[in-house]
């Protein structure tokens, strides 16, 4: 394992230190384990809090700022945050009218956020929760922990964030977050596993001609191992899985997301093939995002997330945003 780190156990703290140094517009509260906007929350605005294990940067702290999150709580690498830090973030994000918790569907995240919501309730903060579960590589059945939350988290945070900025209430924010999640689907493919710093070796080993298909963002192997293929074939595998799970129609928002160790040029190549696939299947892409947004340490690979947009969702996607990792309109 070779990483630009000081010590495996300091990775999260040092990343936050760097984030704080690079972004004075953020409030990085290392002691209480959260990152919030530097300015106080506008009274009456619904607060948006997200969080989860670290190792997915820029998710989530990179999405704190105008038009998106009010606070994020990063846990240890691949480990959900604890209720205390979620509660602290929730308090920081509360403008008096309630806080939306955006939770990726993993047992640890769901349980810790649920405990934090109970604690917030004790302090009379209204909390609504949306659980993001967009990864169609996992069967949504009683035989699994349910679909994982991955790329759609960015869409949920951006769109619910824009609605909150417009002054919408907690129920409306929770409803649109659920709608975005419902309309979204993701599928990931890994070429090389990432390495958890404290584990010291990759989550799985792949031969030169092997890939993991239907992979998540926590270093676990995918649903199956497959043969390395062209960008066109890899993309088709992903698009077909997405289409099988939730038929692709209308106008799409598409994210071609890098897993951390894959350079931008390869993501653009994948996007070229996604655009081609959509053209061949009479599907319209109205908005897109290409880059490293929901990563898995230094894993090589990509995921595709689609959201079937409505007029409303498109307007909110286009609304101004100003965060370290996503910025337009101001």
């Amino acid at each position: 394992m070779k990483k630009i780190i000081n010590a495996p156990e300091d990775v999260v703290a040092d990343t936050l230190r760097g984030l704080a140094a690079a972004h004075p517009e953020l409030r990085v509260d290392a002691k209480n384990g959260f990152v919030a906007r530097g300015e106080a929350i506008r009274l009456g605005k619904i607060g948006l809090v997200s969080g989860g294990g670290s190792g997915h940067e820029p998710l989530h702290a990179g999405f704190v700022g105008y038009g998106m999150l009010d606070a994020a709580c990063p846990g240890d690498v691949f480990t959900s945050p604890v209720p205390d830090q979620i509660l602290a973030a929730t308090k920081a994000a509360d403008g008096g009218h309630g806080v939306l918790h955006i939770v990726k569907n993993y047992t640890g995240d769901v349980l810790n956020f649920r405990m934090a919501a109970d604690l917030a309730d004790d302090e009379d903060i209204a909390v609504a929760t949306v659980v993001v579960d967009d990864d169609v590589a996992v069967e949504d059945s009683t035989h699994t922990a349910g679909r994982r939350g991955t790329g759609a988290t960015v869409f949920v945070e951006k769109i619910a964030g824009a609605l909150a900025e417009e002054g919408a209430g907690l129920d409306a924010c929770a409803a649109i977050a659920a709608e975005v999640n419902e309309r979204s689907a993701s599928f990931g493919i890994a070429l090389r596993a990432g390495t958890v710093p404290t584990a010291g070796r990759p989550g799985f080993e792949l031969a030169e001609d092997e890939i993991e298909i239907g992979v998540g963002i926590h270093g676990e192997p995918g649903r199956r191992r497959g043969a390395m293929a062209t960008a066109r074939e890899l993309t088709a595998t992903a698009m077909e899985s997405l289409h099988d799970a939730k038929p692709l129609d209308g106008r799409l928002l598409v994210l071609v997301n890098g897993m951390g160790g894959t350079p931008l040029s390869e993501l653009y190549i994948a996007y070229a093939e996604v655009a081609d696939w959509c053209a061949r299947h009479n599907v319209t892409i109205s908005r897109n995002l290409v880059g490293n947004y929901v990563t898995s340490l230094d894993m090589a690979g990509f995921s595709i997330t689609v959201c079937r947009l409505t007029e409303d969702l498109m307007r909110l996607w286009d609304a101004p945003v100003r965060t370290p990792a996503l910025r337009w309109g101001r």
Partner: protein, 216 residues
């Protein structure tokens, strides 16, 4: 100074937590390796951090109930992941089911542990054979109660429970996971021991150590 082997007091409860912290810390690499195979490679580190925090809080109360409540809360606050809330709930709900007394008897302890296990089932929704910590927890309380019913002493009964927990953990190897991260792998989760079941077995070994310890 702890009570005689048949009884469970605050000192023994605290000894349980500190022994857990020691055994889990010592096995952290193995637990992480198990979690790397079918999960996300953090289980050893999660529980090491969690039980270290719990052990720090283990001295602060006069009753087993107080000790385990404090330890459970500390565990939740420090662990994260799935295992934090689940193990934390196990301890807190075990505590809640204990009589609020400085010393509790073997049957009360067994009933309370059973309540703790039931709470884990409820929170996590895992059934037997889902390849989770439940597959070690459940055989352990069953063996504990069975041994006590047969008239075994608490140390002997907990020793049997610990063996059952170990056997339960090993029996997860061929299973296909239906809960937790390992369930994402489907059939590919078979052939590996569940990390949470493995750490659960250590917890019961620690309890055997704590209840069996001679106070001479």
């Amino acid at each position: 100074m702890a009570e005689s082997p048949g009884a469970f007091d605050a000192a023994r409860a605290a000894a349980w937590i500190t022994a857990s912290a020691r055994l889990i810390g010592g096995a952290a690499d193995r637990l992480t390796e198990l979690d790397t195979a079918i999960g996300d490679g953090d289980h050893g580190r999660n529980l090491t951090r969690g039980f270290a925090a719990a052990a720090e809080k283990a001295d602060g109360a006069d009753t087993p109930r107080g000790v385990l409540t404090g330890a459970g809360s500390a565990l939740v606050s420090a662990t994260g992941g799935a295992s934090g809330p689940l193990f934390g709930t196990f301890l807190r709900r075990t505590a809640k089911a204990l009589p609020d007394a400085p010393v509790v008897g073997p049957d009360d302890l067994a009933d309370a542990l059973a309540a703790g296990v039931a709470a884990v089932r409820e929170l996590g929704g895992a059934a037997d054979g889902d390849k989770t910590m439940v597959d070690a927890l459940d055989p352990a309380v069953t063996a504990l109660r069975g041994a006590l019913a047969e008239g075994a002493s608490l140390p002997a009964a907990v020793e049997r429970a610990a063996e059952a927990a170990r056997a339960g953990a090993e029996a997860t190897i061929p299973l296909v996971a239906h809960k937790g991260r390992a369930s994402y792998l489907g059939e590919r989760s078979a052939g590996h021991e569940d990390p949470g079941a493995a750490s659960t077995a250590l917890l019961w070994s620690a309890l055997a150590e704590a209840t069996g310890a001679d106070d001479g």
